[in-house]
């Protein structure tokens, strides 16, 4: 909300501004906090500091320290407190500075938050949002660069959102805060300053609805979060070579919009799945097998996976950049799948 943004008029004619991903997240939080006094934020340096990424700056000034709460360095502790608060009338948003630190809160998220509703026979609810960052190539090394979202998508009872644009970030986060279930909300650190159109009007984006970010006929590029832009880059490269790539963003991986993914693959007959989590036993495996099963009789080539390389993220720039898919590498794979290599 802080820095004002240029207001433009979109095709829809409605007022739309170009704002950053960080601003979109902040707006979603501010709007929901204004709308519902039960929404609070808990985490390390979330108040005056507004997090190291400054994503939350301005919120404590508007909502006060009783609703934007600095905690000790206790990921398990404040996440557990958020779970209990969610069970008893608040709607907490817990802030995990680096997604790598989720490792410290797994019991509270997986054994408590995810299971309370079911174990209580539906009598207790946990309207909790855990915001966490993800993404490499920031020269932050192995303990500050992981994308661990696949773990949570494996656990029934949790929902997992992976926005790829400011528009999706705002709409999905507002929906997550209003959801009565625990939601893991992953934000790519490198996207915080990316700008995109966001309407001034209030809106939310339903979970489990994929979006076709670009229409195409020859190959489907299914991509999440940070990989959506990579897929779009690949699509432009391929376009110049006469290959028409369709780019699909599931937006939430739990629930997963299988229908849209399968439909696209049936149409194009080819698919590459992109995700910044490690490739082995990751999200690319789930999506590839869903497409492989659902589009089996329509595929002209095997579904191909491109995740982050299966190595701890190295610090050296000379190595780190090799671990994440790029538009060029995706285009090369696509070429090969389309028999143009």
């Amino acid at each position: 909300m802080s820095t004002p943004s240029p207001v433009a008029a979109t095709s829809s004619g409605k007022a739309t501004r170009e704002i950053t991903f960080a601003q979109a997240v902040r707006e979603a939080l501010a709007e929901e906090m204004r709308r519902d006094p039960r929404v609070i934020i808990l985490g390390e340096d979330v108040a005056e500091a507004g997090t190291p990424f400054k994503v939350l700056s301005g919120l404590v000034e508007e909502f006060g320290q009783d609703r934007v709460i600095d905690t000790s360095i206790s990921e398990a502790g404040f996440t557990g407190i958020a779970v209990g608060a969610a069970m008893t009338g608040l709607r907490p948003v817990a802030d995990i500075m680096f997604g790598d630190f989720l490792t410290l809160a797994m019991d509270q998220i997986v054994n408590q938050a995810a299971k309370v509703h079911y174990m209580s026979g539906g009598r207790l609810r946990v309207p909790l949002v855990v915001r966490a960052t993800m993404g490499a190539t920031r020269r932050s090394a192995a303990q500050h660069s992981q994308s661990l979202h696949a773990w949570f998508a494996h656990i029934p009872g949790l929902k997992v959102a992976m926005p790829s644009t400011p528009y999706d970030a705002k709409g999905l986060l507002k929906a997550a805060i209003r959801d009565d279930n625990p939601v893991l909300f992953f934000e790519d650190k490198l996207m915080f300053q990316a700008r995109g159109p966001v309407p001034s009007e209030e809106y939310t984006i339903p979970f489990g609805v994929a979006e076709i970010k670009r229409e195409g006929a020859d190959i489907s590029l299914v991509a999440t979060s940070s990989m959506v832009q990579v897929a779009l880059d690949a699509a432009s490269i391929l376009e110049r070579e006469g290959i028409s790539a369709e780019v699909i963003d599931p937006r939430t991986i739990a629930p997963l919009d299988r229908g849209t993914l399968v439909e696209s693959a049936r149409k194009t007959g080819r698919a590459i799945v992109l995700d910044e989590g490690h490739e082995q036993h990751g999200v690319t495996a789930e999506i590839a097998s869903v497409i492989g099963e659902g589009a089996f009789y329509y595929l002209d080539a095997p579904v191909t996976r491109m995740g982050a390389m299966d190595v701890p993220v190295p610090f050296s720039p000379a190595l780190e950049d090799l671990t994440v898919p790029t538009g060029e590498r995706v285009a090369a794979k696509a070429r090969a799948l389309c028999g143009r290599a």
Binding site: A85, Y118, K159
Partner: protein, 332 residues
Amino acid sequence: MGDRAGARRKPARADLDRWVAAYGLMATIRAFEESVNQLYITAKMPGLAHLCTGQEAVAVGVCMALGPRDYITSTHRGHGHCLAKGASPDRMFAELLGKAAGYCKGKGGSMHIADPATGNLGANAIVGGSAGIATGAALSAKALGDDRVSVCFFGEGALGQGLLYEVMNLASLWKLPVIYVCENNLYSEYTLYTETAAGSLRARPEAFGIPVLEVDGQDVRAVYAASEEAVGRARRREGPAALLCNTYRYYGHHVGDISRSYYRSREEEERWKAERDPLEIHRRWLIDGAGLDPAVLDELDNRARAEVAAGVEFGLAAPYPEPEEVDRDVYA
């Protein structure tokens, strides 16, 4: 507090009623656990259960100091907490037997009974796992401006879990109305607590600025008095407190833990039962100290047994959940 001296003071009428009720509740818990053990032995109960027999005074003494809207979180050894907070035996047995009429539709079982209606946010099968939940409930009470307090029951073994210290620190900083009740029954599973706990137990909450009240966990009046004090502080928003209740479990770690000689002696068990039984201690006080007619207590014992027997019947007769229930309640 908890000193036998108290025994000589004759209580006022209202007080006496409360103490009589406390006895009745302890009798119900005692009878409940005996029946659970029977259900296990006769192979009528799926899985295992952790009995709190011998620890009745802690659950009852603490919950007497709470109102119906106050919160508790419980443990794998939680039947006593659940009953003391107001749950009824019939739906509890149904839950333990995996029946649809159970408090959690049979989906939770013994280690996960929850009853929001009586403020019970649930037992927990992760040792120490509910410390965050109880503390969070206290945060809600504070943020929503009502005067509720929250009690976190846990065994001394849970002091091995770092989570407790993380949330105690925050509860103390934020003056949250939460009371950490440690039931030190000397053993965590098959190990004496001194083999796994260094330093002093009470020094731990104190290190985070949380006052600790150590009490005789076999004396329901002692537990109640300490709880009253801690709950009062919490309600006045003066901050969290901790209770260290020294107690003992009569049965094994769980119903299947029959031969225990390798970790504790028969003599020790007998000594506690003979000299430190919470029902016996309270009964003696009610009769000798408060001049109550023993018949009143015998009547309560009978009523407890009858209520529990009826609960068992209800649970055994109740139907299992329909197969369609299996994937319901995964998401709200």
